[in-house]
């Protein structure tokens, strides 16, 4: 077998074919956006930096769904289930180790992400190794999220106490912040932690989708049977993508609980379960970059709308979703770029 030329992973992240923004102007734009986010706290209060961190912290979950759905062709409606599992497990572990907050934080992170990954591994085994039809995966993951929400709602009362931490049912659960030594991740520090996490997840996924494994994932989106005939284990590839997406949801869950120091079963309700799908579908599911930008903007929009007491937030996002699916099924940002290119070409032609 001839030796394959393996591209440098970092180079692949910036020049690989499987995302928009792989040309120098594209990198310049990404660099400028990042620079803007890095400089933002200099002009903003700790309060607004914390708010912006909130708009950012769902991005890893959305990127995971983009990998799964946009690149792998596997739609999941249950990403919030892994978000909630990571959040609750972190809360239980860190909440029981308040005597040693550093160790509590680290073990909490590992246990939270591990639990989310393990749940995805078990659940994904049953789904993908059964080779179910494509429409069954979203339905079963949705049912998982809804049942998890029901279960967590039942955990009120003293019977549901893990060590010193009460799960609290619909009253929710209090959760300690991330802490390393005497340093607590709050305000600006939390903001920079979130930005760094988002950047790492983004670059990591750009490397992943432009690597050999990413090619295989895209191939099985296009034609699972042909991919299998080329010698790849389709079930395993799907399961791995599912677990990666679940762990990324878990990262968002960890950021969320350490941001608000609080979690309730409503994070995995039906309305919440719809949000990642909306961000990814509206942004443009097969572009990590577009998903990242749109997730930020839509989070900001819903936060501003709902904190103004506006009950139309859900309707607006619903209408947006239906309109985008009807008129720009490839997503808003890819469509805008295409329109922009067309306009430029027209100008050159005349």
């Amino acid at each position: 077998m001839p030796q394959k030329r393996r591209p440098n992973p970092l180079r692949a992240a910036f020049t690989g074919p499987h995302d928009i923004g792989r040309t120098p102007p594209g990198w310049a734009l990404m660099g400028l956006i990042l620079l803007g986010f890095l400089l933002y706290p200099a002009t903003a209060s700790a309060f607004s930096a914390t708010n912006v961190a909130y708009y950012l912290l769902n991005i890893p979950m959305a990127l995971g769904l983009s990998l799964l759905w946009g690149y792998g062709g596997i739609l999941s409606f249950g990403q919030v289930a892994f978000f909630a599992v990571a959040g609750y497990v972190y809360g239980v572990v860190a909440g029981n180790m308040t005597a040693d907050p550093t160790l509590g934080s680290i073990l909490g992170i590992l246990a939270g992400l591990g639990a989310a990954g393990l749940l995805a591994l078990i659940f994904g085994y049953f789904i993908f190794y059964a080779r179910v039809a494509a429409w069954i995966v979203p339905i079963l993951t949705l049912v998982l999220a809804l049942l998890l929400s029901t279960f967590l709602g039942l955990t009120a009362g003293s019977a549901w106490k893990v060590g010193d931490v009460a799960l609290g049912g619909y009253n929710g659960m209090n959760i300690p912040s991330l802490q390393i030594g005497n340093f607590i991740f709050q305000d600006y520090a939390f903001y920079y932690l979130t930005v760094a996490t988002v950047v790492l997840c983004f670059i990591g996924l750009r490397i992943r989708v432009n690597s050999h494994r990413g090619q295989v994932l895209i191939a099985l989106r296009e034609d699972p049977l042909r991919t299998e005939l080329l010698g790849y284990d389709v079930r395993l590839e799907q399961l791995v993508a599912f677990v990666i997406a679940a762990v990324l949801s878990g990262i968002s869950g960890l950021l969320y609980v350490t941001w608000g120091n609080y979690i309730t079963p409503s994070v995995t309700s039906l309305a919440q379960a719809s949000l990642p799908v909306i961000w990814v579908a509206v942004g443009g599911r097969d572009s990590l970059f577009a998903v990242m930008i749109l997730t930020f903007l839509l989070n900001q929009l819903t936060y501003v709308l709902s904190s103004a007491g506006n009950q139309y937030a859900l309707i607006i996002t619903g209408v947006l979703l239906v309109a985008v699916m009807l008129f720009a099924p490839e997503g808003l940002i890819p469509r805008l770029i295409e329109l922009g290119r067309k306009a430029l070409r027209l100008k050159e032609a005349t």
Partner: protein
């Protein structure tokens, strides 16, 4: 004796609930390969229409029929405006109907407030030994049988049924033979929506009527559909609803309704691991094997 009757009654209620919750969904999925995630909201609309009609003084049976027709018409409008653009794109249809469900439930909340006047359960109770049973649920079980028989007749014995089954098997060939495939899809979606509205109206007296009530039907309805599979619409519906309630009844009897729904999910996971194409594939497989041998 009384215990056996009681268990049978529980089993029947659970099966009837699963069947009613899933019927409209199964018709649309089996015939068109479209999953209508707004199904729960269609049932909610049916319940709202029934409640509004009953409180305007209409008799309950008439209110139920009226809601079925209203939701059916609504479904046809939606099919023309949105759903028909997604034929052949399963996942796109899933996502877009979800968007519709968000708009419907939140829109209902804004338009009619968080609660709707409840409907009293019609009919009385029957007593066997120490147990008493609501005649309304017995009536619902009978309705299920009637609905299934009606659907069987529609699809097996009528001209439309023949065209629909031809469309389901091979839409391109059906079109070439002069069947108006678009119209078959439109009617099927309308029928599925009407069934959802009918079920919502029928179940309305047994539950509280609220904008987000559709959610409680989502999990059971979809599990029934997943287990049933798409190969034979009616066979799958009967098979999976009775199989699932066979598991759910003892578990919820012993451990409460939440563990009953967990048992539903676990059963579904294990069943699809064994039978990826659902219960209905069993019958189909045997039939093809018989034909070969």
């Amino acid at each position: 004796m009384a215990e056996i009757v009681s268990l049978l009654y529980q089993f029947g209620t659970n099966a009837a609930f699963l069947l009613l919750a899933a019927l409209g969904l199964i018709v649309i999925l089996g015939m068109m390969n479209i999953i209508n995630l707004a199904h729960g909201e269609f049932m909610m609309l049916g319940a709202y229409a029934a409640s509004a009609a009953v409180h305007r003084g209409l008799p309950f049976p008439l209110a139920v029929l009226l809601s079925a027709v209203a939701v059916g018409v609504f479904g046809i409008v939606l099919e023309r405006l949105v759903v028909r653009h997604f034929y052949g794109r399963e996942l796109g249809a899933l996502v877009v109907t979800w968007g519709i469900s968000l708009i419907l439930s939140q829109g209902t909340l804004i338009a009619f407030g968080p609660f709707m006047a409840p409907i009293a359960i019609p009919g009385g109770a029957l007593t066997v030994g120490v147990y008493s049973f609501s005649t309304y649920w017995l009536f619902l079980m009978a309705i299920c049988v009637v609905l299934l028989a009606g659907l069987g007749w529609l699809y097996k014995a009528t001209e439309f049924g023949l065209q629909a089954r031809a469309t389901m098997q091979n839409a391109a060939m059906a079109r070439a033979l002069g069947i108006r495939v678009e119209r078959v899809y439109m009617i099927t979606f309308g029928l599925g929506s009407a069934l959802a509205g009918l079920s919502g109206a029928l179940l309305a007296p047994t539950t509280s009527i609220a904008p987000f009530m559709g959610q409680q039907f989502v999990a059971p309805a979809f599990i029934t559909v997943v287990v049933g599979g798409g190969a034979s619409v009616i066979g799958g519906a009967i098979g999976s609803s009775s199989l699932l309630s066979l598991v759910e009844t003892p578990v919820s009897f012993l451990m409460g309704s939440f563990w009953g729904s967990i048992a539903l999910l676990v059963t579904a996971l294990v069943l699809i691991r064994i039978l990826p194409n659902g219960v209905s594939s069993l019958r189909l497989r045997r039939r093809t094997r018989g034909a070969r041998g």
